[in-house]
Amino acid sequence: MFRYILRRILYMAVTLFIIATVSFFLMKMLPGSPLKAEDKLSEEQREIVLEKYGLNDPVPVQYVRYIGGLVKGDLGISFTFDNTPVTKILMDRIGPSAQLGAQALLIGTFLGILLGLIAAISHNGALDYTSTILAVLGTSIPSFVFAGLLQRYLAVEWELFPVALWGTFEHTILPTVALMIFPMATAARFTRTEMIEVMGSNFITTARAKGVSEYGIIFKHGLRNALIPLVTVMGPMAVSLMTGTLVIEKIFAVPGIGEQFVTSVMVNDYPTIMGTTLLFAFLFVLIILVIDLLYVLIDPRIRLTGGES
């Protein structure tokens, strides 16, 4: 088990290196330059600034320098906030993003499983159709539409929650709700399908023949087996949450990484773009690792290669 994790971490490093390389060159292909209001700067001033940030060197040289810093854990200095290291910017801003993401993922998945379970139990009943319609709406309508609606009605018209900005827990409610719709709908759909299939399998009949109560059938025998495939879709779901935060943070003016990322792309703040991309990439590979480990916990048939037999 330990050796397995160690090996996976090595793979993670390789993956991140490849992502860093690809996104570095992709980023260099972005149109425009980090300099704002370029026409107001003289040729000489521009040279000085570009020289200062090392942007006059050929791209491969810049690349090697960047990777060199990366290995030492240095993400560079942001262009927009003078002399602030990117690491510090990310550290300052990860809090709100992580809170929103975790809240949305946990609450969304939990409610989704519940919804899917109710749908599966009342298979083809009114509750089933209601929750299926909700799930379809939730997966097909983008989160920023919900965000707008929530702001309009819950915040502006009924004044139940703050419209935007960050501070108290109440500020987190609307963005969390907007974010969690998608994981909730996805979890509901999967739980329903899997649960219906599992409830038709032979071992459920065995359990019934043992005299197990309906409660035990659903939770002890059914749900655990139904959740295995759900774990697989949790990964992409968590990732789509991360990208979802980009827009949601912008809409709710949350001082998170997503909001920072959008801004930095607009002004060609290269080190910040790279830093944020790598942070997202890191979270992504980390989530995949966590999911693989989760599998072992819920499905005894899965063994990790490299672990004890």
């Binding site: 023949a209 109560s213 087996n225 819920i298």
Partner: protein, 350 residues
């Protein structure tokens, strides 16, 4: 011998998009304490559906008992609530299923799967249930029961899994054990072991067994009595000797004739022509008539009642009517039945 179970004119139907499928069309039999009744028939004859009805485990909402009674110790199971049935299932009546590969929960330890019933029905605490589970695994012949308890189904072979399923079924000393083709999915050597095991256990616990199978060879080995089912009805019922030496129904003849035996060197294997009727629109008269070379005219008009052959032996065929022509089974089947009685009854059993 007292009657443990009485099934009276049981009818089970399934609602499908095409209409009502009458899977079981009036089945009557009884089961005495400690005896083994085999229900034999081809696929779709209603034998598994009958057993599911005994457990009230028909797939809801499509399957339902249309009419009839299932009296277990005098009480009608059909009328019992779900909650009451949960108390009977696994305790008084339990079941061994056909496919050991899929009938155990893949994410639950074997021990917990065995202990579940014990804790529920016998109010045992976990420690005692565990002890009992170890005993059960020993009883069904699984070596190292202590370690095996903590393993998952995928760590067992098919035969071992079926032993576990048997252990689960036996956990609370059921009065009736329903075995629904328990050896069909196993290879021949394991089949024999599981059958031996069930016989041994029956001697020890005095459970009655309802043995559902399409394999007459298995029947000869284990059953005291045999019920032959065709198209949702019992067409012949009698002691194992009655059925094997003195079968009266042409369908039973067909089954006996199509049974491969080791000494059947000279004759070709006999196949019953045609296929079973569509139970969506069951035929008028005798359902077996279209496939029956001895069919009489009345077979297409009226269903034959159960004719009494002896106190233990009944068969539903017009051939037994006093006005019917005297027809003897086909010669090959006669030779078979002769052969069975010569080799002595049931492999030296009894």
């Amino acid at each position: 011998m007292s009657k443990l179970l009485e099934v009276k004119d049981l009818k089970v139907s399934f609602n499908t998009y095409n209409g009502e499928v009458q899977a079981v069309r009036g089945v009557t039999f009884d089961l005495n304490k400690g005896e083994t009744l085999a229900i034999v028939g081809e696929s779709g004859s209603g034998k598994s559906v009958t057993s599911m009805a005994l457990m009230q485990l028909l797939p809801k909402p499509h399957g339902y008992v249309k009419s009839g009674e299932i009296l277990f110790e005098g009480e009608d199971i059909v009328k019992k609530s779900t909650r009451d049935m949960q108390k009977i299932r696994g305790k008084d009546i339990s079941m061994v299923f056909q496919d050991p590969m899929s009938s155990l929960n893949p994410t639950m330890k074997i021990g917990n799967q065995i202990m579940e019933g014990l804790i529920k029905h016998q109010n045992m605490n976990r420690t005692n249930a565990r002890k009992k589970a170890v005993e059960l695994l020993e009883l069904v012949g699984i070596p190292h029961p202590e370690t095996r308890l903590n393993q998952y189904p995928h760590q067992f072979s098919g035969g071992m899994r079926q032993r576990v399923v048997v252990a689960i079924a036996l956990a609370c000393n059921p009065k009736i054990l329903i075995a629904d083709e328990p050896t069909t999915a196993l290879d021949v050597t394991i089949q024999a072991q599981i059958l031996e095991l069930m016989k041994d256990i029956q001697k020890e616990t005095d459970s009655a067994i309802i043995f559902i199978t399409h394999d007459l060879g298995v029947v000869a080995n284990v059953a005291d009595r045999v019920a032959v089912m065709y198209a949702g009805k019992i067409v012949e019922i009698g002691t194992t000797d009655d059925i094997f030496y003195n079968a009266k129904h042409p369908y039973t003849w067909g089954l006996l004739g199509s049974m491969p035996t080791l000494d059947s060197d000279e004759e070709e294997l006999f196949a019953i022509p045609g296929s079973p009727p569509d139970l969506l629109n069951p035929p008028k008269g005798d359902a077996f008539a279209p496939r029956n070379e001895f069919a009489l005219e009345i077979d297409t008009v009226m269903e034959p009642p159960m004719f009494k052959v002896s106190d233990t032996h009944y068969a539903a065929t017009w051939l037994l009517h006093e006005d019917a022509p005297k027809i003897e089974p086909p010669e090959s089947v006669q030779r078979r039945m002769q052969g069975f009685s010569n080799t002595g009854s049931k492999d030296g059993e009894k």
